[in-house]
């Protein structure tokens, strides 16, 4: 029983982070149909931004967090505006855009290594402590990470469903022709979702950096978890993507019960195969063909 509660706690902590990553990838992928693997570079830049501000410049961790989010948003917008937008305008195929994204992912990580060197970077200084909640043990940082991730997803969900701009994003996502007809500037919406989605990834990267370390290829695994979360939960809505992230976190944590450590990815892969075969639209089907 105690072990179960502990696993649930870890599942929530992991799941919230993966849900944040899935929601961030979903926003970009569902709205612009870009399989944006270069998201991993955005993520790593955000990690290093925290290092530069909080360690190299010696400023506070709060400024580091701010720098992570802002630099991620800037990188995401820049990739869309400089690279993807001209390619879309020229009618490039989905495959060429994906290959260009791969090029950015590879070159970006290598460039970070050239700038900051191959050694990992730590950002210490978070006043961490272990919390004992009944029989469950978690760290303060884990709680904060999970809370910020969940809160961010909720805020983005509110933004998408409640605001004028959020509705315009849904409009572009579900009916681009009609969106153009009512005068929604589709390319601006595209840059906007790259900005928001990247900022979300930047937040996740900040927490990873202060919990562990920053290194050039730190973005690959989180982006993969985000991608899997999106397809697992459902490409039709942000709720589906976030759900997928949570399911992923719980799968990985609970697989520890019967698989040796780190091998939960076997279970994840098996579940993914089943979903692609039997429920290609994901676990959460979206309402009214959204």
């Amino acid at each position: 029983m105690n072990q179960l509660l502990q696993l649930i706690a870890f599942g929530i902590v992991q799941g919230a982070t993966y849900a944040l990553l899935a929601a961030s990838f979903w926003l970009i992928y569902a709205t612009t149909r870009t399989f944006h693997l270069a998201h991993s570079v955005t993520y790593a830049v955000a990690g290093y931004a925290a290092f530069v501000i909080s360690v190299q410049l010696g400023l506070s961790l709060w400024l580091g967090a701010f720098a992570s989010v802002i630099s991620a948003a800037a990188v995401g917008c820049a990739i869309d505006a400089i690279l993807y937008r001209p390619m879309r305008a020229r009618g490039a195929s989905v495959l060429s855009i994906f290959l260009a994204s791969l090029g950015v992912a590879a070159a970006g990580a290598a460039a970070l290594q050239l700038i900051f060197g191959p050694l990992v970077k730590q950002v210490p200084g978070f006043p961490n402590a272990t919390l004992y909640l009944g029989s469950v043990t978690v760290t303060r940082l884990q709680v904060l990470t999970a809370f910020c991730a969940a809160a961010t997803i909720f805020l983005v969900f509110l933004f998408i469903t409640r605001t004028r701009t959020g509705n315009a994003i849904t409009a572009v996502r579900t009916n681009p022709t009609m969106a153009m007809a009512v005068g929604i500037p589709v390319e601006r919406i595209s840059v906007l979702v790259f900005g928001i989605g990247s900022a979300m990834a930047g937040l996740a990267a900040f927490f990873e950096t202060i919990s562990f370390v920053a290194y050039p290829t730190m973005g690959l695994q989180p982006v993969m978890f985000g991608v899997i979360g999106v397809f697992l939960g459902g490409i039709g809505s942000i709720r589906g993507a976030a759900l997928g992230g949570f399911v992923l976190g719980f799968l990985l944590v609970f697989s520890g019960l019967f698989l040796s450590q780190n091998l939960g990815v076997i279970l994840v892969f098996a579940v993914l195969l089943v979903v692609v075969v039997f429920r290609p639209e994901g676990l959460l089907r979206s309402p009214s063909g959204a």
Partner: protein
């Protein structure tokens, strides 16, 4: 391992060449993207390592494998990666969109990397496994120089296999799938199996290369099989030109030579050579996709086997004459169209019975029944949204009816998908043509020929002579059909370079190549100039005279009145009237339905 440094550099490049060429089979020919190149390379390497390792691992534990010789390890690597490829690809191949394959290959990559670094008992974890050297029939390769010729031969062999597949009918099928999978299915070709097979072949070749590399390095460790390697290989393919084997070879040699060159730049530390190489090929990949998406050596430069020029210039001009003649007959009374005296006497080929279909609350098709007879041209007309296209979709199995059924030659088509329907002899001509833009006109048509021996990959290797003979017949048939529609002189041109009217004629030739007895034509003349329209009209009439049953949906009443023996007038999903052109166009109530009241 001893031997010269230069030979080692060359050997590393041969691995890159083999990987790039095998990925080209998938990315270039089939148009599918895999992120799992490094994963299958690693899967093969680890399989070989586990099966051949002897004695103790680096950590001191006893190895768990059977200690087979190298060739056994290589064979097991090929089998494991081939099967692994099928497991990854088969679910994704069911979907037309390539995103699912990217997803699954990406997940598979992490699966392999995680197992390699975490399952210590099997893989040695981060410490890796020591692998015995390459050796067969008592001969062992122990220096880089000895290995070079073997590895060069392997890379050449893989390139030849891919090149052979690429120019085979199976390769043509893959290219067709890349260009337009729906169109290929509508020609009666299965697409899931070829896609999965192409993926599994790519995986097997990467796995075999991995096994050889493991035995060459005499060591495997997880860091070798990174996503960067997968991207590096994809960059070689994309830059060399998807679909161009030679391009991949050249690109792999150039990009592979970057690292040793950078390592010898004095101002760079040896640590930064690899990231610099990555920055350079990553940037080249980005620039290539922006400025030259078809690669530096596009497929068209070294196209598939072309038809000899002489053969084309020798095309008899009879066709042109026939066409002119039929066009000339246009002024004759509309009734004398079909050569079959009274189609109603012959028994119908197609029976449509009580078809109904609703989408949501909208009843798109209501209880529709009609017959098609041999040699007859039936036109479906009616205002937009009357359900005409839905009827075609129901007849070809693209959507399932709620009620009713279609029989062809007395056989029910219930439950058949478009591929099965096309195979049983009812083929569809798409309104938006769905030409295969990157293929030559001749290949566009050749792909329509049914039951080609060479579309079976095994036959391509096991019975090459039979495949070659079959292919000669297919090409002759394709050329004959191009002659039929009067554009044989353009046989070798890429379809996307043809005028729209010519593309429509190519699509017609392709439709005829399927040998289908029943032709469903969706707006055959829309979007072409009047001259091309006349050509198409004449063609359709000739087809009916040769005994085909033709059903057309056409909004141009000019075309309908030129062609149709019988008109079915549809409105709001139901057939309102049936009769000759004159009977329909003069009925005031139908005029009201068509043009409103």
């Amino acid at each position: 391992m001893g031997g010269s440094y230069i030979a080692d550099l060359a050997n590393q490049i041969t691995f890159l060449v083999a990987l790039a060429v095998s990925l080209n089979l998938l990315l270039g020919f089939a148009g599918q993207m895999s992120m799992a190149t490094a994963a299958f390379y690693g899967l093969g390497a680890y399989t070989c390592a586990i099966m051949t390792a002897q004695g103790m691992t680096l950590t001191g534990a006893a190895v768990i494998g059977p200690g087979w010789p190298f060739l056994g390890g290589l064979a097991s690597a090929i089998v494991v990666s081939f099967v692994g490829g099928l497991v990854v690809a088969a679910p994704a191949a069911r979907r037309v969109r390539g995103d699912y394959l990217i997803l699954l290959t990406l997940a598979f990559h992490f699966l392999v990397v995680t197992i390699a670094s975490s399952w210590v008992g099997l893989t040695g974890g981060p410490n890796g496994i020591v692998v015995p050297p390459i050796g067969f029939f008592g001969y062992e390769i122990n220096t880089t120089d000895q290995a070079f010729w073997f590895l060069l031969a392997w890379a050449a062999f893989v390139s030849l296999v891919c090149w052979w597949i690429g120019r085979s009918p199976f390769g043509r099928l893959l290219r067709g799938i890349r260009e337009d999978e729906i169109a290929i299915q509508a020609l009666g070709k299965r697409t899931i199996a070829p896609k999965s097979l192409a993926f599994a072949m790519t995986a097997a070749m990467a796995g075999a290369t991995g096994a050889i590399s493991a035995a060459y390095m005499q060591f495997v460790a997880p860091t070798t099989y990174s996503l960067d390697l997968a991207i590096l290989v994809a960059a070689c393919v994309a830059l060399g030109g998807p679909g161009n084997i030679l391009g991949s070879v050249v690109a792999a040699i150039v990009i592979g030579a970057l690292r040793p060159i950078l390592e010898n730049v004095p101002s760079l530390s040896s640590d930064s050579a690899v990231p610099w190489q990555t920055v350079i090929y990553g940037s080249i990949l980005v620039a290539g996709m922006v400025f030259r998406p078809r690669g530096l050596l596009p497929e068209g430069l070294i196209a598939m086997r072309r038809f000899p020029r002489e053969a084309i210039s020798a095309v008899p001009r009879v066709v042109q004459a026939t066409l002119l003649k039929t066009v000339g007959e246009r002024d004759q009374p509309a009734l004398a169209k079909s050569s079959v005296p009274n189609p109603m006497i012959a028994s119908p080929i197609v029976r449509v019975r009580n078809l109904s279909k609703s989408f949501g609350g909208l009843q798109a098709v209501k209880d529709v029944s009609f017959d098609l007879h041999p040699g007859e041209i039936v036109a479906l007309i009616g205002p937009n949204g009357a359900g005409k296209s839905t009827i075609f979709n129901l007849m070809t199995g693209a959507i399932r009816p709620d009620q009713g059924e279609v029989t062809l030659h007395g056989q029910s088509l219930a439950g058949a998908d478009p591929c099965a329907v096309a195979r049983s002899g009812m083929a569809r001509y798409f309104q938006h043509v769905r030409i295969l833009p990157g293929l030559s006109a001749l290949n566009n048509v050749a792909i329509g020929v049914p039951r080609q021996a060479g579309e079976n990959l095994a036959m391509t290797f096991l019975a090459p002579m039979r495949v070659a003979r079959g292919e000669a017949e297919v090409r002759a048939e394709a050329l004959r059909q191009l002659e039929n529609v009067g554009i044989a002189p353009h046989a070798n041109r890429t379809a996307q370079d043809l005028a729209f009217g010519q593309q429509k004629l190519v699509a017609f030739a392709r439709l005829l190549a399927t040998g289908a007895q029943v032709l469903l034509l969706d707006e055959p003349t829309s979007g072409v100039d009047p001259q091309a329209a006349d050509q198409i009209i004449a063609l359709v009439r000739t087809l009916a005279q040769s005994g085909k049953s033709i059903c057309i949906v056409e909004h141009s009443l000019h075309v309908v009145s030129e062609l149709a023996d019988r008109i079915l007038f549809m409105n709001a999903g139901a057939i309102m009237a049936e009769g000759t052109v004159e009977a329909i166009t003069t009925r005031p109530d139908l005029v009201d339905l068509y043009f409103g009241t």
